[in-house]
Amino acid sequence: MNFNDSEQQAQFRTKCSTWLHDNAQRKTQAGSDNPHGKRDSSEFLNAARSWQKKKFDAGWAMLHWPKIYGGLEASPLERIIWGQEEAKFDVPQGIYEIGLGMAGPVMMQYATEQQKQRYLPPMAAGEEIWCQLFSEPSAGSDVAGLRSKAVQDGDDWIINGQKVWTSGAQFCDYGIIVVRHDPNVDKHAGMTFFFVDMKSPGIDIKPIKQITGGSSFNEVYFNDVRIPDSQRLGAIGDGWRVAITTLMNERLAVGDANGVDATEAFEWAQSQDDHGQALIQNHAVRESIADWYCQASGLKNTKLRTMSALSKGDTPGPEASITKVVSANKLQAIGNFGIDSLDMAGMLKTERSEVHDFHNAWLGSAGLRIAGGTDEILKNIIAERVLGLPQDPRADKGLAFKDIPSGK
């Protein structure tokens, strides 16, 4: 056992970090204010665009892609090494992940060669931003319950309905969308998948104000929106199969719940007073921090086990499926801990960046436990796909979609 890179991996890591040093600023301290402006501001968007373009020009943007679309044909392990090195630098994150992580693989797998050459390079270069249009007001965990309608009209399809929880829709150029073309068959059989120009007439985008006060997500309304049949991905009726490919990639794209962790809780407890002594002297606090430390360490080492498998050319086991459930819940617990440690004053928003981070963790974690698969859905997936337990009996089996009970 060792944590060292092989000679080849070390060379690749040096190549990454050398380029990063020349082109970006190394992170100084965790929790520092984002130098690229507020998330969702145009300043931040511009910073993200120019960083993405810089990466693309050097081949790093989608390094695992084939060279003809702007990649380097890097191995999965090299992609991880790049990610580790990039994470050490202060670069604008959060604009491109969904498009590149979800729309990218779907286009790669289902688009025509001509479309790939047209759309993939600008996607990787950040010149065109992509979003994902799956969830609907009545189709969340049960995405296959979606009811946005697609009706064929000559060479076009006409789309009507509403999508929700679409990250970045307000500034996106294209989106991938799954819609229902036939409500008279089984729900999984009646769906078809497209990509759509987000500037098409009939698309109306409204931001959702989240409990954090921010608006990263949107509602997207479709009123007689025309999509050419040439933008269909997969066969008519194959929408669910195509969507599943994307959802698998989403689980990888969402990953860890970022924010304060055991180390920050530990450092805070050393500095915060508790009835005349340091909070870290409190036994309940020591036990909680030990728990979070073990969870954080367990996740870190789980990733290292995945990397070890990749570096040997093996397929990694299903271990990584635990990542989001564990990290989002840990984040919520640490947020609660930090706020509670201020006793009656914990309610106050203050200038202290640590307190600000605890407030963000407490509010943000509530969303992270839902985004990209709720705790409950992820546990179902572990139980069914990893442990091999039977699926839940379904009340919608064997029914045409239009006959499925939908409540009110």
Partner: protein, 375 residues
């Protein structure tokens, strides 16, 4: 990057698994629990014949001269099938104490006998119904003679030797004692009688100093850190076995016309078991790395492995009973064998609370060291 065992180590593990299955180790554990014996002597002799007692003993002393990683993979298999043998006390604790801290003369004498099984050792620490500390050890040593009473000592019935934690002139000493008829050794009833535990009364018994005088408590902490990693592998082996049992039962048992494993209440319970086990396994690998490389991170890595492995096996073994419903509460089903062993292992080298405290102390110490070095 390689946080995994080598092909040779994996081969050793699969051979160990096959052997212990063929020898029906789980059934033997039940037999020991049901009977009067404190171990399965036949299985222990076969394990000695396989050479496992000498895994870490250098070849010059007739051992296999392998590393801690080989011990870790064997530990996982012993834990998976609850082997009723004195392996942890003699190999993870006593043998390691001799290898690391004993004089050459003692090594010459004991190491070959530990390989051959002529010598079996254990560590005698606890004296009262509370956590042992540097300040509550009352067993005394004077003129190399040890007097006092130890309790909850594993495997003292078969052990020929013990390292006894004593109060000496300069502080705590590790003392090597031969367990002869002069020692008053009595079997004690425990929550898991598949592993024998004993009290030892010592009255002016000859002893030899192991390690520096007055340094015993520090040496003991190092031994416990090392052993905690191996114990964590026994614990993840046991946790995996209970998860497998619960999964298989949930697939076969029907209620209200469907497999109970199709209910989310059961699915989520089993997913939680898998999550805790995965975290514990990854942390145990980290502990194994720290142990095998003699890392300065060993104290933190060992505590991390130990805490999460204890949490995993305790949770998995208890929820395995719950998944089995009434059947899980019967003596006939194996669930209780794992429930007992999980609790026993979670106490053997110190409780969950003790190890959480060690973890935080380790983090505090690391931070102080970093500040001094200007990191």
């Amino acid at each position: 990057m390689n946080l995994d065992f080598s092909d040779d180590q994996k081969l050793l593990q699969s051979e160990a698994q096959k052997f212990l299955q063929k020898e029906q180790s789980l059934q033997r554990s039940r037999d020991v629990l049901d009977g009067e014996q404190a171990l399965d002597t036949d299985l222990w002799q076969q394990i000695i014949a396989m050479g496992w007692t000498g895994i870490r003993i250098p070849e010059q002393y007739d051992g296999l001269g392998l590393g801690h990683l080989e011990l870790c993979v064997v530990a996982e298999e012993l834990g998976r099938c609850l082997a009723p043998v004195p392996f942890s006390s003699s190999v993870y604790l006593f043998t390691e104490a001799i290898i690391k801290f004993a004089s050459d003369a003692i090594k010459q004498d004991l190491l070959p006998k530990l390989v051959s099984g002529e010598c079996v050792g254990t560590l005698a620490i606890t004296e009262q119904l509370l956590a042992p500390t540097e300040h509550n050890i009352n067993t005394q040593v004077a003129n190399n003679k040890v007097s006092g009473t130890k309790i909850a000592v594993p495997d003292a019935g078969i052990a020929t030797h013990s390292i006894v934690i004593c109060k000496g002139v300069k502080g705590i000493d590790l003392r090597l004692v031969e367990l002869t008829d002069h020692c008053n050794i009595q079997k004690q009833d425990t929550i898991d009688d598949s592993r024998g535990h004993f009290s030892i009364g010592l009255d002016n018994v000859d002893s030899l100093l192991v390690g520096g005088e007055g340094e015993g408590w520090e040496l003991l902490q190092n031994l416990l850190d090392q052993a905690a990693v191996m114990f964590s592998f026994e614990q993840i082996g046991g946790a995996q076995a209970t998860l497998d049992m619960a999964t298989s039962y949930a697939q076969q048992r029907f209620a209200f016309g469907r497999a109970i494993g199709s209910y989310q209440a059961i699915k989520h319970k089993l997913a939680d078991m898998y999550i805790k086990l995965t975290l514990a396994k990854s942390n145990s690998y980290y502990g194994a790395w720290a142990l095998s490389t003699d890392s300065v991170e060993l104290n933190v890595a060992a505590a991390t492995a130990r805490v999460s492995a204890t949490q995993a096996f305790n949770y998995c073994s208890q929820e395995n009973i719950q998944t089995h419903g009434g059947n899980g509460f019967t003596w006939e089903y194996d669930c209780h064998l794992f429930y007992r062993r999980a609790k026993l292992l979670s106490l053997n080298v110190g409780s969950l609370a003790t190890w959480k405290e060690k973890l935080i102390l380790g983090l505090e110490k690391t931070q102080t060291a970093n500040v001094k070095q200007g990191v």
